[in-house]
Subunit: 468 residues, 2 copies
């Protein structure tokens, strides 16, 4: 779909449906963003003419200058077919239809939706929507009709987000910004009438700047589910595709019909299909975040399910053990010999109160140096495939340097290491110390376990298809 | 246990085991907190004498002045029996043993633990620990050996926290502070050798200032499990008791042995027992937070499982439907007539793009006034028992006043209302608007559903025992 390229990086844009009276009208918010914040040449369109924010309004796209690559349509549903046709005549190849009032509202809307699909196809327009908030590409463009000051913007990065729900997507942007995970692009596909999630998965599959693809899908039109997993199957050997499927309960299913009029599926069926096609199935937003974040680090592989865990709080070790068990990961007890080797690394005064069975509890008396030395010893053991660090910087012996120092130990080994550090501003230095040195940090014990699970699932998949 | 009262509100304290060399030694951190931050008369003890932070150190508790109500012991395990005996002779009735090196490290430690239990019993000492971080009571005392500047302190409130893990407890304090949920006290019971979780559940059961009791338990000693649930059963009709049980997986079970040497149980058995005794069983930290927070509001009851949901994002409605379904809550479709009544409340321009089947999606075009009016109509319907508000303040029509305004609508009805608002500083005004007016706000869609689940579970329990 050539239209997707210009959709995500247009030189000239137009917004059809700005109001000359209401500055908060969706079209006006979009116009201000494109024209003033993204700095793109942008033509506002309204049949009544006039001016908006001091700029002359064109009465139709037909009378606007040539060279428009992307048009954003935000007019009542009944006017969409007409203006879309004009876009086609004007040879605009990328169109985003923000307007709602299509198949999500019933039969009349469905026939209107068929009509615009037909027009888009006839004019070779790549159309995103209707009933969507459009696209956001860091530093390039933002067509979300939500005022910029209300929505966080993640930094440029390597995760592509595709969502059938604009609201869901916005919340991910907040979260990605808060967790400092960068995105390549965020796409709201809405009713995905013509251009679908599959098209974007294929697009980002080829994009060298994208290392992880994450999608929130509520349901597929007839036959679309198979296309989607087939597309994922082609891309999965190259990069992870993480999918959260909404509407899997009966109630949720009914809700999707009113939302994006999709046919939601059955959880077990989805899970089996996703697994077969190499899709990483996230079960909730937390898993989406955990998986996206850890894959954005382009992590090493995890050749088996065995984790060695290092903690300074026994309770955290217990909770991590329960969580790991839920995810099919194993914390094998260390041998007497291994335990003795690790204990010998501890400051002598604390050797008697520490425990090394796995999880290894260094207690609240441990200092940075204990943590470093025990980890170094542990990473050398063949009995584990990965290490999980549960780091509570509440203990007085833990300094702000621990993140960077421990990360340097981890670098000397081939094993994957993931950390948990409470996600608090006061511990930012520790978190940065880990992450700048390539170790992903979870903001809950559960998230750090989910991160290991993601890597294990991916490694297992690559082992199965003979790529690892 | 009379010793618990002075333990939580002592007039004079002593810290046995301060270092004259290492200011970061646990005893020193505790001494500074009690003496300088809590402003309590506090005697530092070390057999070598000398001074600490400019204060004279007593060579033993025996030679310290009279009137000490609470002693905190932080000396190597082997010295604990001796100093505990001295505390007994000195008629100190409340003792916290911070030291590790007891039953959690094996047989030698276990016999040392038996010895101190015997001493505490003989001298009628209420002993908390060993292997714990002690107690924190807002504005009164803090014996946690973690420097104050590293750990958040929630405001004074009505939730009592009891934990077998100090690390777990510290994280809850961070979370309660961040979410502005107040606590009455936080207790780390460690190995709970003598004073147990049961004792504290009974204590807080009688405390008029406590409206919710939350406990994290890794396991029980022989016979202790039954005592615990029996204690909960007596208190449950008066106030909710929320319990998270760690170590329920096989791996987690093994971890608890190294941590607090408890006998962890089996998940299904725990769940059945908790239910039978009126204990609210939280399955993870998120549920602990959701349940504690919503009960801290002393919410109305929820006489049935039917929820009416109001959203401005269809995707959020879908996710809430899935979550509600997981928790056995129902979102019944509204009748044609009810739908028409709600639609008529909307701004005419948006009536055509909204959906009222339940969840009701007012779309990103909705303004405060739409939200208020539709909610008012919905709360009047007999077809629902509670309302769930999914409020995304990203839409331009939503103002910062919406929380307080919607809360005022809710006040006119007997039904429970819970909201979800993204937990971001920029939306603090909205969250405060809700919460100051009695509506608990979840920081995820899932948490808001968990809050409704908590109220429904509690209401159902009270219905079953004939109290509602």
């Amino acid at each position: 779909m050539t239209g997707l390229k210009t959709m995500l990086n247009p030189k000239v844009t137009a917004v059809i449906g700005v109001s000359t009276k209401n500055p908060f009208s969706p079209g006006n918010v979009i116009f201000r963003k494109l024209a003033f914040e993204n700095g793109l040449p942008t033509y506002p369109i309204n049949p009544k003419g006039g001016t908006v924010e001091g700029v002359d309004v064109h009465k139709s796209i037909v009378s606007a200058p040539e060279g428009i690559e992307l048009a954003v349509i935000s007019v009542p549903a009944k006017y969409v077919p007409g203006v879309l046709r004009e876009c086609g005549e004007k040879k605009i190849r990328s169109v985003i239809v923000v307007s709602g009032g299509f198949s999500e509202v019933g039969e009349n809307g469905a026939s209107l939706q068929s009509e615009i699909i037909e027009i888009a196809n006839r004019y070779k327009i790549s159309m995103v929507g209707p009933n969507c908030i459009g696209v956001f590409v860091p530093d390039i463009l933002d067509t979300f009709f939500l005022p910029s000051e209300r929505v966080a913007r993640p930094r440029k990065g390597n995760v592509a987000l595709i969502s059938q729900s604009g609201g869901w997507l916005i919340e991910r942007l907040e979260e990605f910004a808060a967790r400092d995970v960068g995105i390549a692009a965020a796409i709201s596909i809405g009713n995905s009438a013509q251009t679908t999630g599959t098209d974007f998965v294929e697009h980002f599959g080829k994009d060298e700047c994208v290392d992880v693809i994450c999608a929130y899908i509520e349901g597929f039109g007839p036959g679309e589910g198979r296309d989607f997993v087939e597309a994922c199957k082609k891309i999965a050997p190259k990069k992870p595709v993480v999918v959260l499927k909404g509407g899997e309960s009966e109630a949720g299913h009914r809700a999707t019909q009113s939302h994006t009029s999709s046919l939601a599926g059955n959880h077990a069926v989805t899970n089996a299909a996703f697994h077969q096609y190499g899709v990483i199935h996230a079960l909730d937003e937390d898993e989406v975040m955990a998986y996206a974040k850890v894959f954005s680090f382009k992590p090493k592989y995890m050749l088996g399910p065995r984790i060695g865990t290092l903690t300074v709080s026994g309770g955290h070790g217990v909770i991590a053990s329960d969580e790991a068990s839920d995810y099919g990961l194993i914390m094998p007890p260390f041998s007497e010999n291994e335990q003795a080797q690790m204990r010998a690394e501890m400051t002598p005064a604390y050797q008697g109160i520490t425990s090394f069975r796995n999880p290894c509890d260094l207690t609240g008396s441990a200092a940075d140096v204990d943590y470093e030395r025990v980890l170094e010893k542990m990473l050398g053991f063949d009995s584990i495939d990965a290490a999980l660090l549960l780091l509570l910087p509440y203990a007085p012996g833990i300094s702000l340097q621990i993140g960077a120092r421990v990360a340097n130990v981890a670098k000397r080994y081939d094993k994957i290491v993931v950390a948990y550090v409470p996600d608090l501003d006061k511990y930012e230095v520790i978190i940065r110390g880990f992450e700048l040195n390539g170790i992903a940090v979870g903001d809950t014990i559960e998230e750090s376990v989910q991160m290991l699970n993601a890597i294990r699932m991916r490694s297992k998949y690559l082992q199965q298809i003979g790529k690892l």
